[in-house]
Amino acid sequence: MAGFDKVVSSYDEALAGLTDNMTVIAGGFGLCGIPENLIAQIRKMGVKGLTVVSNNCGVDGFGLGILLEDRQVKKMISSYVGENALFEQQLLNGELEVELTPQGTLAEKMRAGGAGIPAFYTATGYGTPVAEGKEVREFKGRKYILEESIVGDFAIVKGWKADRYGNVIYRHTAQNFNPLAATAGKITVVEVEEIVEPGELDPTRIHTPGIYVDRLILGTFEKRIEKRTVRS
């Protein structure tokens, strides 16, 4: 059953084949559910000129933010710069190319990329700078713009539990973009907190079927919290 055993034993192996100028799709929202060890491995590999597709770009010093420090990223496709100072600075300076993409459109572009849908229409962004250069079309009296799908050379994904076949479930809102990213990578690499035997996960609650997963690795995670809010 070697053919379905997706487990690799090192992060070197997990991202083998990732080279300069590739496109990497990353799961995660803010710092929640980010593939933090795979990102660290990309930094360690020192590949340059990457196009990174991710809703955010981490924060200064953690998550995808660390790839900005070493100027490994040529272009970000994201919805939110937010409070990431280095991201905003490189963007305003013109050092970093950024394709700001509405969050829902970004999610749908990943899903479409994985689903063999090259393009779809959405009202999101119509009449805004996002629509520039895009086809506008009317359906049933409303205007929509055409958005194309995204496929990555690699997708990097953070799961909770997986079985050796690569069936993955996510924990709480750490799900976010992860299952979408997983479908849209030519090579999809998933790091998880726990690997179980096939059959242990209920078939009806698997978020990412193993067919999408090429490599699976067991990691340990800091899981930094961006905004720690409590009630009294």
Binding site: G30, G33, P102, G104, E108, T124, G125, K227
Partner: protein, 218 residues
């Protein structure tokens, strides 16, 4: 006197209806959850993939894997559901959310809204705001009526890059409740002690003032 952040939230909360699914933006909109009227239930949608958001956690409940769209740690209420970002925006884009409340830099008489960048100065990114304004039928924009320098934020035409075109019909500022109809702002209510004259002076876009403009009470 201009409305406080809490009063803005209280006024928005009067637009809620029992059984509403509501998306509250970051900042003042979030406070609306504190003023849901007695005997009424609304369910909060957070666009990172959560329907049925609860209050902030206690110290013991804090969980890095459970956050809202503002990246704050939160909890879930019984009957909550959690899903991926594509499914979350399917819900939003498909018009299934009953009310969206969000902030803005500017709105104009055509119902345009600008909220995500000031060229050369500030780029936050649009996050989910473009999807929210495109998907929702029922949107309330909350913002201050004018900048600190006294510049009106209710304009004839937005000066900043748009978040959405022709999608805003209701605006609550610190001074007034305003509706947008047929290319004009209509002054529906004013903040307690705020004169119609002050609102007129601070509104750059065409403003229609009905004969009677009730004062909000709290």
């Amino acid at each position: 006197m201009a409305l406080s952040r809490e009063q803005i939230a209280m006024r928005v909360a009067r637009e809620l209806k029992d059984g509403y699914y509501v998306n509250l933006g970051i900042g003042i909109p979030t406070l609306v959850a504190n003023y849901v009227p007695e005997g009424m239930e609304v369910m909060l949608q957070s666009e990172n993939g959560l329907l049925g958001m609860g209050p902030f956690p206690t110290e013991d409940e804090i969980d890095a894997d459970m956050i809202n769209a503002g990246k704050q740690t939160v909890t879930t209420l019984p009957g909550a559901s959690i899903f991926n970002s594509a499914d979350s925006f399917a819900m939003i884009r498909g018009g299934h959310v009953d009310l969206t409340v969000l902030g803005a830099f500017e709105v104009d008489v055509e119902g345009n809204i600008a909220s995500w960048m000031i060229p050369g100065k500030l780029i936050k990114g649009m996050g989910g705001a473009m999807d929210l304004v495109a998907g929702a039928e029922n949107i309330i924009v909350t913002m201050t009526h004018a900048s600190k320098d006294g510049e009106s934020k209710l304009l004839t035409k937005c000066s900043l890059p748009l978040t959405g075109a022709g999608c805003i019909k209701k605006v609550l500022t610190d001074l007034a409740w305003i509706e947008i109809e047929d290319g004009a702002f209509i002054l529906r209510e004013r903040a307690p002690g705020v004169s119609v004259e002050e609102i007129v002076a601070k509104t750059a876009g065409k403003l229609i003032v009905p004969e009677h403009v009730p004062e909000m009470t709290f």
